[in-house]
Structures are given as structure tokens and as C-alpha cells.
């Protein structure tokens, strides 16, 4: 696996180059839409990386990431509106709540594998969505409209430019990548991969698979909730239809699968391919274009699963694997 070896000099310089380009992007691209597209790429890249920790490494195929995303968004927004709590603290609270929700679903599902875990995760996310849709405290189906505050880093609100959002989210994405890289190269990452292979095998090398599966799902939920809080502060409005629906969960899985699950950079590549397609068709084709992105996704996913199950990353790092 590429992930376990130390990076080559070429890979490091490639990453540095990409990072430099990303840092310079807002200085040269002024339009609101190109900035928005990049922000959506980062958002789903981050959620894809978070999904990858539980799905790609530990083999828990969650189709319910929207629940964690929504819990993060709702927690920080509710705390901001009711108690004027800083969204930055709300971010941590959202992560904590999402992790608790993850534990609540993770413990009863600790023996479920493959398709069964996927089904359970969909059911869980739908329960959360329906609950929020009827929960008066958080605005039920009307949702929450966040107060417009002075723009500042402290308030986590920016009105004149999207660039600050861009840089904050790039920071979150890098943090997620660091967490994923740390997890995947540590003992925990080895244990996740053993659990993904087989629970029986994990047990005979002394792994408490219930505990490690719980760790995977809680870390993933925390990062996904961070993305949720960001999204709430970015759009300044949320309702169940915008943060808790199944298509968000599906998009997260697609991003990771297309890019390459089980590799650190895979979901980033997946997001960089898919999000411009979905945002682009949405804008260029208007309401008539709804679903075009899904046709493109569908085709891509079929091609990938038929010819390169390791995803686009597998395609790129093919020669690296052969050398081993």
C-alpha cells in the first residue's frame, strides 16, 4: 500500500505544487461561481476523506453520512441562535454530538458487515432526517436561518468575498487528510484493515473489533460534522432538505469510491472530478439539467467498478504498486 510507505520526493513535490496552486487560486479567480465550485469540491473531499476512514479502511460502508453532516450543522447553528455560542465552539460541540450519535448507532450495529451495515446506516440517517423534519425546537421543516453578523473570523461569517471560506475549508480538508494519514499508518489503521478483511481474523490477533469499529465511526462522524458546521456558516440557512437527505450520503460514497477508497488522497481526486460536473450541470442546464450529473456519475461508477475497482487513485499509483 502506498499509504504505509514513506512518500517519495516526487510525491512530496507534487503535493507542494498542488497546495501552492490551491492557495493562489482565490487571488487569480475572482468569480463567485468558480469559488463556490472549489468550496464544494473541498467540502465533499473532506466528507469523502472522513467516510474513507470508516468505509475505505475499516470496511463499514456507511450510506448515512448526511446524518453526521446535519447534526454538525444543526448543533452549531442552534447553539449560536439560542445561546450566542461562537460557531467555532459550536463546531466542536457538533463534532461531539455527531460522535455520540455515531456511538449510539455503532454499538448495536457492531456485528453488521457489508450490505447489512449499509442498510442500517441508511435507516439511521432517515430516522434522523424525519426527526429533524418534525422537531419544533430546531425549526422543523422550516429550518433555521442564521443571524447575519459582522464579517470576521471570530463570527465565522464573511459577506464580501468567498475567499475566507475557501481558506478555512482548505484548512479543514488538510486537517482531515492529516487525521486520515495518521490513522491509516498507525496501529489503528492496521487494525481497521484487519477488521475489514474479517472479524474472525481480527479476533485471533487480539483485536477488540467492537471497540475499533466504534473508533472508526466516531472519528468519521466528528470530521463530517465539522463539514456540516462549515456548510451552515457558509449558506447561513439550513433545513432537513438541505443537510440531511440521502443524496448527500450517496454523493459522499461516490466521491470516495470514484477516487479510490482505502487511499488517503482518493476522495480528494473523486471530489475534484465529480463536484465540478454536478455544480456545472446544475448551473449551465438549470432545472432542466437536474439529474444529468447523475447520468454522468452512473457511467463513471460503472466504468470504474468494472475496470479499476481501486478507483482513479489506483489508476495513478498503479506503477507504485507493481514496484512493491
Amino acid at each position: 500500500m502506498v499509504s504505509v510507505r514513506t512518500l517519495t520526493r516526487r510525491q512530496i513535490s507534487l503535493f507542494a505544487l498542488v497546495l501552492a496552486l490551491l492557495l493562489l487560486y482565490p487571488l487569480f479567480v475572482k468569480g463567485s461561481f468558480p469559488m463556490h465550485v472549489m468550496i464544494m469540491v473541498f467540502l465533499f473531499a473532506m466528507m469523502g476523506v472522513a467516510w474513507n476512514i470508516m468505509g475505505g479502511y475499516a470496511g463499514m460502508f456507511s450510506f448515512g453520512q448526511a446524518a453526521f453532516f446535519g447534526i454538525g450543522a444543526y448543533t452549531s447553528s442552534y447553539l449560536l441562535m439560542t445561546y450566542h455560542l461562537s460557531p467555532w465552539l459550536g463546531l466542536l460541540a457538533g463534532g461531539a454530538f455527531a460522535s455520540l450519535a455515531a456511538a449510539a448507532i455503532g454499538i448495536p450495529c457492531s456485528n453488521l458487515r457489508g450490505h447489512y451495515f449499509a442498510i442500517a446506516s441508511i435507516a439511521f440517517a432517515e430516522i434522523v432526517r424525519i426527526h429533524f423534519n418534525n422537531w419544533k425546537l430546531v425549526g422543523a421543516a422550516e429550518g433555521l436561518t442564521l443571524p447575519i453578523l459582522d464579517q470576521s473570523l471570530k463570527n465565522f461569517e464573511f459577506h464580501s468575498s468567498k475567499a475566507p471560506y475557501y481558506y478555512i475549508l482548505l484548512g479543514f480538508l488538510i486537517l482531515s487528510l492529516l487525521v486520515c494519514s495518521w490513522v491509516s499508518t498507525s496501529r489503528m489503521g492496521f487494525y481497521f484493515r484487519a477488521i475489514k478483511e474479517s472479524h474472525d481474523l481480527a479476533k485471533v490477533v487480539g483485536i477488540n473489533f467492537v471497540r475499533y469499529r466504534l473508533a472508526a465511526i466516531m472519528i468519521s462522524a466528528f470530521l463530517t460534522a465539522m463539514a456540516g458546521t462549515f456548510y451552515a456558516q457558509y449558506i447561513l440557512y439550513l433545513d432537513p432538505e438541505s443537510v440531511l437527505i440521502l443524496p448527500i450520503s450517496v454523493q459522499v460514497v461516490l466521491v470516495a469510491m470514484l477516487g479510490g477508497s482505502g487511499s488517503i488522497m482518493g476522495p480528494v481526486i473523486g471530489a475534484a472530478i465529480l463536484l465540478p460536473i454536478s455544480e456545472g450541470t446544475r448551473v449551465w442546464l438549470g432545472p432542466k439539467g437536474t439529474g444529468i450529473d447523475m447520468i454522468v456519475y452512473g457511467t463513471l461508477i460503472m466504468l470504474i467498478s468494472a475496470y479499476r475497482p481501486q478507483g482513479v487513485w489506483g489508476l495513478l499509483s498503479r506503477t507504485d504498486r507493481r514496484k512493491a
Partner: protein, 245 residues
């Protein structure tokens, strides 16, 4: 002064519905001993294995390890206490290299990656897999996978190693290598329980052999006596051949 047995199995009983898979089986394994378990297909050997290692909950009886009751413990706890096992159908982590597989085992006693790697490399040299350490686990041959499974088990630093048909399907040369490995393991102070159909291996390795048929222990003796035991011959070859002897 006689030390307490390492493993004491007392009257293990396991049912699957109406089928009595293990019927009050008892035996002991002493420190440094190799105990062989033989029996026809479906006689309950693997079930017994699973009851001892925490994969099944027996309905009756107890398993004592170093005098401690481990009957109700989970498989990972039992591994932590020092009983490692392999599977009849070989299991390795397919997207890892040979070295990474063994490191996964070594992590049990050494949370640090560097220490786990050093430990794994030592085990790879010991088991003769050093040359193949950087190969992906799916790319190695079945005999090597069996060896790898043993290596993963050894990396958890067990006091008792339980092998479930580790010799099945090996060529005579591979078998000889495996026998050498098992002897080396014992020389390192690890006791073994081996479930085996390959009589050549059981006879050559075991200090004592336990014969099981239809879920019951039918015999326990030294290898030389096992092969001429009428009960064993009846179980394996049927009434007719038994009558001829």
C-alpha cells in the same frame, strides 16, 4: 515438583440443535508439549478448537488456562492471554504485504510501529518468509499463506499455539518444512495443539494424541499406540477393516 498444566479442558459439551458436536471432552496440555487431535471429518475437532479459543460458547464444561477459567472470555481476550490459533481455511489480510500482516499480529504487545516492525521482521526470519516480506499477501502461494498465518499467530507472542490443519494439502517437501517450523516453535518454549489429518505429521510431532469420533473422545495415548488402537481403526476405516486386524 510438577507444574500445573498450561491448558485444562474439562468436559466441554457443544450442541448445534439436535447434533451433539462435542460430548464432555476433557484433556490437558502441559508446558512445552505438543498434543495432536485426530478424528474423521465431522467428528468435532474444529468445534472443540472454537470452544477453546472463544469462538463458540460451550453449553457445558470449562476451559482453564494457567489455572484461570477462560470459558466465557471473548476470542480477542483469550488471544491477549496468550493462546493464538490459525484457521482451517487460511485467512490473511489480502490488501497488505506479508510484513504488514505480521505487524498486525505484533501490534498486540507493541503499540509502537517501530517496535512492531522489528518484532515482525524477527518472526519473518524465524518462519522463513523474510524473502517474501514485501509481497502482497494475495500474491503468495497457499503453503506460504499457511506459514504467514502461523507467523501472524507467533507475532502475538503466544504461550500456546493451536494449529487447525496447517499441514493439509502440502507437498512432501512443504510438509517437511512445516514440521521443522513446528519443532522450532516448540523449542522456543511454546506449547502446541495441532488438529491434523496428515498422520505423518501428527505421529512425528505429537507427544500425545487424542482421538475424537462423533463428538466423543475415544482415545488418548502416545502416537505409537494410537495407530494400532482398535477404536481409532474402527473410526477411520470402519467395522470391516477393524475386524480383520
Amino acid at each position: 515438583m510438577s507444574a500445573a498444566p498450561l491448558l485444562e479442558v474439562q468436559g466441554i459439551t457443544k450442541r448445534f440443535g439436535g447434533l451433539l458436536a462435542n460430548d464432555k471432552i476433557s484433556f490437558t496440555v502441559n508446558q512445552g508439549e505438543i498434543v495432536g487431535i485426530i478424528g474423521p471429518n465431522g467428528s468435532g475437532k474444529s468445534t472443540l478448537f472454537n470452544c477453546i479459543t472463544g469462538f463458540y460458547r460451550p453449553e457445558g464444561g470449562r476451559v482453564l488456562y494457567q489455572g484461570r477459567d477462560i470459558t466465557r472470555l471473548t476470542a480477542d481476550r483469550i488471544c491477549k492471554l496468550g493462546i493464538a490459533r490459525t484457521f482451517q481455511i487460511v485467512q490473511v489480510i489480502s490488501d497488505m504485504t506479508v510484513l504488514e500482516n505480521v505487524m498486525t499480529g505484533a501490534f498486540l504487545r507493541s503499540p509502537s510501529k517501530d517496535v512492531a516492525r522489528t518484532k515482525a521482521e524477527e518472526v519473518l526470519r524465524f518462519t522463513g518468509l523474510w524473502q517474501k516480506r514485501n509481497m502482497v499477501a494475495t500474491a503468495i502461494t497457499i503453503p506460504d499463506k499457511k506459514r504467514l498465518e502461523v507467523a501472524m499467530a507467533l507475532a502475538t507472542e503466544p504461550k500456546l499455539l493451536m494449529l487447525d490443519e496447517a499441514m493439509a494439502g502440502l507437498t512432501p517437501f512443504e510438509l517437511k518444512e512445516m514440521l521443522t517450523l513446528v519443532r522450532k516453535v516448540r523449542e522456543n518454549g511454546i506449547s502446541l495443539v495441532i488438529v491434523e489429518h496428515v498422520m505423518e505429521a501428527v505421529m512425528a510431532l505429537s507427544d500425545r494424541v487424542i482421538g475424537i469420533n462423533s463428538g466423543r473422545k475415544i482415545v488418548e495415548d502416545v502416537p505409537e499406540k494410537i495407530v494400532v488402537n482398535p477404536e481409532v481403526i474402527r473410526a477411520y476405516l470402519g467395522e470391516r477393516y477393524h475386524a480383520r486386524t
